[in-house]
């Protein structure tokens, strides 16, 4: 039992945080908890005072030529600084509700053995940066926040907080896409918000650290990692995972039986040789 918790401790905590955040928003909308938080992941007001805003949405608004309010800038800055410190894609693995869907697809894909059949993924993980760029160009040309009009992330959290509509279809499509078409397809290849946070978290303080001496090369970490390219150093070099695409989900840490991976504070360049 203890080892079960040890092997899933971050996953359990992540699910608690993800569900908890959604619950607070739902409470803010339906049960009068708006003194805690109101709004949704696009923009919200914490404790009736602190504005929080999606910096990527703010960027699209800027590209679309909208007048940007001070509140929005403050909100976007708070979020950018926060994720800039704890790890950009901490949003993806600890907050974003789509993560639950894609993790479920990934779990099933592994269980059913699709990964055995489809060993090599036929798409580039850099697609998300192209989509990120494209979304800003389209926002500029069309004069609307282009990604916000199709974002399955927003569709999902709005569906949870404000009511479903046909939102379930978007969730189902992402699930099926990740299950049948592309491993880690949405979160690991396409999502421009993930791309944005990869860039925003490039210099984050919390990073996974690899200790090569302890590593037995069992590769459990690489199997479980949704962005396995960031673990290139495993069993090779004792360095930190500095790639912004690492989501700090902690899966690699909890599956490691040899204490070869752990969360750490980023080492400053001077300390390295």
């Amino acid at each position: 039992m203890n080892s079960l918790f040890k092997h899933y401790r971050f996953l359990i905590m992540r699910r608690i945080v993800q569900v908890g955040v959604m619950l607070l928003y739902v409470g803010g909308n339906y049960w009068g908890w708006d003194f805690i938080i109101q709004g949704n992941l696009s923009s919200s007001l914490l404790l009736n005072t602190v504005p929080l805003s999606d910096p990527y949405a703010a960027l699209q608004m800027f590209a679309a030529g909208a007048v940007i309010t001070t509140n929005l800038i403050i909100g976007a800055l708070i979020i950018t600084v926060f994720y800039g410190l704890v790890g950009g894609r901490v949003f993806c693995s600890w907050v974003c509700p789509v993560n639950i869907i894609t993790d479920a697809a990934n779990y099933l894909r592994e269980k059913v053995g699709f990964n055995e059949i489809q060993k090599k993924q036929p798409a580039s993980r850099n697609l998300r940066y192209w989509i990120l760029g494209l979304s800003l160009i389209l926002s500029y040309i069309l004069g609307v926040t282009a990604f916000e009009f199709i974002s399955p992330i927003s569709i999902t959290h709005r569906a949870i907080i404000f009511g479903l509509g046909l939102g379930w279809a978007a969730m189902l499509i992402i699930f099926l896409f990740d299950l049948f078409i592309l491993k880690n397809g949405w979160c690991g290849h396409l999502c421009p918000l993930g791309g944005f946070y990869s860039v925003a978290g490039k210099l984050s303080l919390i990073r996974v650290d690899h200790n090569e001496e302890n590593c037995t090369n069992c590769m459990k970490c690489k199997v479980v990692c949704p962005e396995s390219q960031v673990l290139f150093m495993v069993n090779k070099e004792s360095i930190q995972v500095l790639d912004g695409e690492c989501t700090n989900c902690g899966r690699c840490i909890e599956v490691c039986d040899d204490d070869a991976l752990n969360f750490s504070i980023r080492k400053l360049a001077k300390e390295k040789k």
Partner: protein, 258 residues
């Protein structure tokens, strides 16, 4: 031998092609959903094209609305996804004096100054839409006394007033016909909600859909304010070159008419 350079060029070309294809589908979809002009926005909403760029779709106006009037567009509703709107026949805007939906907007898509008079919020200044009467299907225009919309209007006798006219058919009754003053109507939709006909004979439409615009060429000579527009007006002289053809030609040469 495949050189790295050729691989790189092909890779970039493929990515560019994919992005172009994606961009086409993406922009077509966005164009499609934003083309819907028949959508009523919350009070204080800025111009629709600016609104689409500025609204961050956080739903705080929806949460603030005590009557559940406002909803966020869901997938399948064929409206710009996630933006707030209302449908008056379901739930109209009850025009709260403190306008809770507007000050909460974090992006200014709902503009507080536009619904403020002398530093105080003034819902009567809002322009969500304008009510339009379908006089063929309004029973008051048939001569039946109704005045449901007139009574429902929060700006009673101002935004909707009754026009009296003799009913020549009966010879002894009067028509009490509702007429909307579009300068005052806020588009709250309480009239549309109250209308007794099967489908409402008075409906609220976005102002840019329902109202015309005169342009700068006409000046109300009887209106002192409007006439001031002429104070700095300059004379514009247009000279049209005289046709070199003779007048006879222009009368007889009718070939161009076909």
């Amino acid at each position: 031998m495949v050189s790295e350079r050729r691989k790189f060029i092909l890779g970039t070309a493929r990515a560019t092609g994919l992005v172009a294809l994606g961009g086409l589908v993406w922009s077509a979809y966005v164009d499609e959903v934003t083309a819907n002009k028949l959508i009523l926005r919350p009070p204080g909403a800025i111009k629709e094209e600016d609104f689409l760029a500025t609204c961050i779709k956080c739903g705080m106006c929806v949460e603030a609305c005590p009557f559940d009037t406002l909803v966020l567009a869901k997938p399948g509703s064929n409206k710009p996804l996630g933006t707030p709107y209302f449908e008056p026949r379901d739930i109209p805007c009850y025009m709260c004096p403190d306008i809770p939906c507007v000050p909460v907007c974090p992006t200014g898509a709902l503009d507080e100054p536009s619904v403020t008079t002398n530093g105080e919020l003034d819902i009567n200044k809002s322009t969500m839409g304008v009510a339009i009467v379908d006089d063929k299907n309004c029973i008051a225009f048939w001569g039946i006394q109704c005045d449901a919309c007139y009574r429902a209007c929060p700006l009673l006798d101002e935004a909707i007033f009754l026009k009296y006219e003799k009913n020549e058919r009966t010879g002894k009754h009067a028509f009490l016909m509702p007429v909307v003053n579009s300068d005052i109507c806020t588009g709250c939709g309480l009239c549309e909600r109250a209308c007794v006909t099967k489908d409402p004979a008075i409906i609220v439409l976005p102002r840019e859909v329902a109202l015309g615009s005169v342009g700068d060429f006409y000046v109300k000579g009887w209106d002192k304010e409007d006439e001031k527009r002429l104070v700095n007006a300059k004379e514009i002289k247009t000279t049209t070159k005289l046709s070199e053809k003779s007048a006879m030609d222009s009368l007889n040469d009718v070939g161009d008419l076909y």
